[in-house]
Symmetry: C2
């Protein structure tokens, strides 16, 4: 199923597409050399936005939850990538313990089922352990397709994490640790724990990711001889902001104003007629206040109201204030059946294994789509990512566009790799 | 396109299929551990025959020529495997020199075009150099689809093989060197030459391959708790035989009689009603006399006649006699539109990247299909090789059958790896 796409393909992106296609061998070699020095995250999903005049990643997930949105045809690619990942990490592996999120949403459970299938077919015995301490015996969880998963209680035995009669050499987290690292996962030095704990939101900061991405985008753009802004969303770190204090709100308004001005200047430079906007997002994980679209600096006042409501509902954070940052808004001009859509590129190890569109008919082109109302349309990435079509006119070929999306997503994956190295508590220092 | 298949699925193969599916994690781990110690051939194609009561490789090609028979849907898998192979061999690679066979058959040219596409998309500049010394300038070769390939003359510069303005770090041979190793390919110590020269027929012997395979089949069968004969075609090495001398023919008849008796005993053991047969094949490369199907030992006399015709036509080999071996015949009970078919499994590095059926309506179930009249039907291996379907009844699911074919083909690939190690002239000896 290839969705009907409408992409606003104006000048710059067509030019970018052409440059990326012409530079394919140089680009692939660049990635190969990066992976000689750096370790890719175990798996990654990147939300990409194509504005026609600009293409950029807007979110990079290190605990991806959309594997069920990939088409069945793409499964062999995921299995092959998983085989390559296992071979590198632990070739003698027999058992994989997968720790899912506690979510019981049907979509999420299907994602877990798909992960079990991928790693089983890559050659591992896969079982599921839960962080939910109310689960004290193996518990079947029904899936929408009539099958079932079995969730088992974790058993901590000194330095190892087990299930009953199941000793894994590798533990795969599909849980973003937004509420901190449970004791049961700490100090596991005898087993591979993937992704590492510092990929969780207790340590990770989106600003660190996008700083790393910006550096890479500059290097990459230099190789291609183009303006890095065409692939880089500008950001401003706001730090911890007390949204209920006038001073906090003032600071945020000033940041928004400054970033809007920067975007306005770039739009002017490129003759872009659209109205610039920025987004206010949480720096440290899930956007508990919701992502706010800011078209005028004063729009940030909405967040003060949201924070007041949250306090009134008794859900204010323990530590006062919110860690926030501002991101240049990249409008998406892709549409599926009139609904606003953005591609999500999914990777295992260093390989793009598929993609899908996040579609949200309730949202506008300048809004966050990762919100209630979102649905997902699998993309036949088969004829796509690795498979640009030679000779096709820029902007005219879906395969070529998807190859470009895969390049940008992999650039964000390299940034995540840099980010994880910089925050690794066990890293050796050579200073 | 999934061809309509009729497979004679009697007891033993169903049991084998079930065992292989149940043992998937153990099997995949077994392969991972083998690849820790051994290097897979760069690319491999294995002819597999499914007799219903037995499943076995009958030929292992180290210069595969059927990449154009893979479906377009499987291309990303080939590209990903090629990326993995390049990363291991030469991550800093920019340029790949591909040396095709001199064949100008349309099918072969499409195979070359497909290889160019795969390695371009894996991130290399690919150009074609020819061993044909009559080519002295870049020469376009038209393809059936209207496009063209450009074949260029090789340039030898001391220790390196180049094209004009093109210095490759890796040279990929798609030429089986059946007529020996041209001087231009000798003593290239500064570049990666893949597959190595000793994979050519000047060094390779099919009997060495099948001896290595037999050892592996025994280990593998032990792991699965089954009779290795179910996956191993028995062979007898005949050595150099002067087919025109009574003594030579006698020796060959005796070998055929002995091997037929061995097959007969196994058939009796399993209650197989079919008529046993053996094949006489060349041990050292292309079957210039044609593969002979021998149902009674005295059938080998046909070869004496063929050798006499060859001499009469002035095509007798320089060295008298033919290096021959005998292989247990594995009937194929697969049919596509009433024509006899055998699957060919294609691999890059350690990964199965697709497969197709070789179909020959002019041949019988006990004959070699790799002969005039053969055509090829691509197999949608997508839902196949790595993707067995859990819970499907043995023998009932094409995906499960293809996974099994992929396992047997990979076993033959491991055997090829052992074979190449044993014949490597540059190997260090630890004796």
């Amino acid at each position: 199923m290839v969705p009907h796409l409408i992409t606003a393909l104006t000048g710059p992106i067509n030019e970018l597409e052409q440059r990326i296609l012409e530079s394919l061998p140089a680009i692939e070699r660049w990635f190969r050399l990066e992976w000689m020095e750096h370790t890719p995250p175990f798996y990654t999903a990147v939300d990409v936005r194509n504005a026609g005049f600009k293409l950029a990643p807007v979110d990079t997930h290190l605990f991806p939850t959309g594997f069920h949105n990939l088409t069945d045809e793409m499964l062999p690619l995921a299995v092959q990538a998983a085989m390559a990942a296992i071979e590198k990490i632990c070739p003698e592996a027999k058992n994989l313990l997968l720790i899912p999120d506690r979510s019981t949403r049907h979509g999420y459970l299907m994602n877990v089922e798909r992960l079990v299938r991928i790693f089983h077919q890559a050659g591992l015995n896969v079982r599921l352990g839960t962080l939910d301490e109310s689960v004290t015996a193996p518990t079947p969880v029904a899936l929408p397709d009539g099958s079932a998963l079995t969730i088992e209680p974790l058993v901590r035995q000194r330095g190892r994490l087990l299930l009953k009669d199941f000793d894994p050499c590798t533990i795969l987290l599909n849980h973003d640790l937004a509420d901190g690292v449970p004791a049961v996962l700490q100090n596991l030095h005898e087993q591979y724990l993937l992704p590492p704990l510092h990929a969780g939101w207790g340590v990770r900061r989106k600003t660190k990711h996008f700083q790393a991405y910006e550096e890479l985008a500059k290097k990459f753009a230099k190789m291609l001889g183009m303006d890095p802004w065409l692939i880089n969303p500008m950001i401003t770190r706001a730090g911890r902001v007390d949204l209920e204090s006038p001073a906090g709100l003032d600071a945020l308004t000033t940041h928004a104003d400054a970033l809007l001005s920067k975007v306005r200047r770039k739009y002017k430079e490129y003759g872009i007629q659209e109205k610039p906007f920025v987004l206010v997002k949480a720096d440290d994980g899930p956007d508990r206040l919701g992502v706010l679209t800011v078209r005028e600096a004063r729009d940030v006042a909405v967040l003060a109201e949201r924070a007041r409501v949250r306090r009134a509902e008794g859900q204010a954070p323990a530590e006062p204030g919110d860690e926030l940052f501002l991101q240049e808004g990249v409008p998406t001009h892709e549409r599926i059946n009139d609904a606003v859509a953005e591609p999500v590129v999914t990777m295992i190890d260093r390989y793009v294994v598929g993609g899908y569109y996040r579609v949200n008919p309730e949202r506008g082109a300048d809004e966050n789509l990762n919100a209630p109302g979102a649905s997902f349309v699998p993309l036949a990435f088969a004829e796509s990512n690795q498979l640009p079509r030679r000779g096709a006119k820029p902007g005219a070929s879906a395969p070529n566009r998807f190859y470009m999306y895969g390049v940008i997503a992999r650039l964000a994956m390299v940034a995540a790799s840099y980010e994880l190295e910089a925050t690794d508590p066990d890293a050796e220092s050579y200073d």
